[in-house]
């Protein structure tokens, strides 16, 4: 299903890949085996790079992205349409469960909007990998796989998600 498709990593999954790298060797092998293509969203790039204290730290993190994602990566920018879709998706989250308004970040709403946009022309072109499995609710997304790693101090579940257009359209219709 995911072979030759694009995979977007959110910020916390990027950090987890770095902190627990050796436990993710098999995850990388799977991505390589299935020839997964890389995508990064600018909000993820911003969140990942913003904490750098020095120019050198910033350069190391930038170099990490360059090597991890390769030369042929797609960089997704936030257009007016993406912002508007992110707002619409956030409204649906709130309508379903008001607690989600604060729980799900602006960047996560932008990612959801990018998933919607990227899959519009051709469904299942873009998948998402996240360790924050509550931030991409299953009333809009489908969780198609969970990759579990055990660091001995914690168990981390990296969920792989796809945007479900039918679920979204149904909820959008109900938003009055």
């Amino acid at each position: 299903m995911i072979e030759n498709k694009h995979l977007l990593l959110d910020t916390n999954s990027l950090v987890s890949l770095i902190k627990h790298a050796r436990f993710y060797a098999d995850f990388f092998n799977q991505l390589e085996k299935y020839q997964i293509k890389s995508v990064i969203d600018y909000s993820v790039k911003f969140e990942f790079l913003r904490g750098s204290n020095t120019k050198r730290d910033y350069e190391i993190k930038q170099e990490y992205l360059d090597i991890l994602l390769g030369e042929n990566r797609i960089e997704l920018i936030s257009t007016n349409e993406i912002f508007e879709n992110a707002r619409e998706i956030a409204n649906i989250y709130t309508r379903k469960d008001s607690k989600l308004t604060k729980q799900i970040s602006f960047a996560d709403c932008l990612i959801a909007a990018q998933m919607k946009k990227f899959n519009e022309q051709k469904p299942e072109r873009l998948f998402l990998a996240t360790i924050d499995n509550n931030d991409f609710p299953l009333f809009i997304f489908d969780r198609i796989f969970i990759f579990t790693i055990d660091t001995e101090r914690e168990i981390i579940n990296m969920g792989i998600y796809r945007f479900n257009k039918e679920k979204y359209e149904r909820l959008k219709k109900d938003f009055k």
Binding site: I36, S52, I60
Partner: protein
């Protein structure tokens, strides 16, 4: 020299860009450096919270 240049040109034509998510020495090396940066950031954030 000319032969070397020919070979180089051929190599450049056939070489493909490095695929993403390749868990090789390049990625391992930069991951180790990035890990130190992330840990430093987390320690700083923790100190600021105290």
């Amino acid at each position: 020299m000319e032969e070397n240049n020919k070979q180089k040109n051929t190599d450049e034509k056939v070489s493909k860009p490095r695929p993403p998510y390749t868990w090789d020495d390049r990625l391992k090396e930069i991951t180790e450096k990035a890990k130190q940066v992330i840990e430093k950031e987390e320690t700083n954030a923790e100190d600021d919270r105290k």
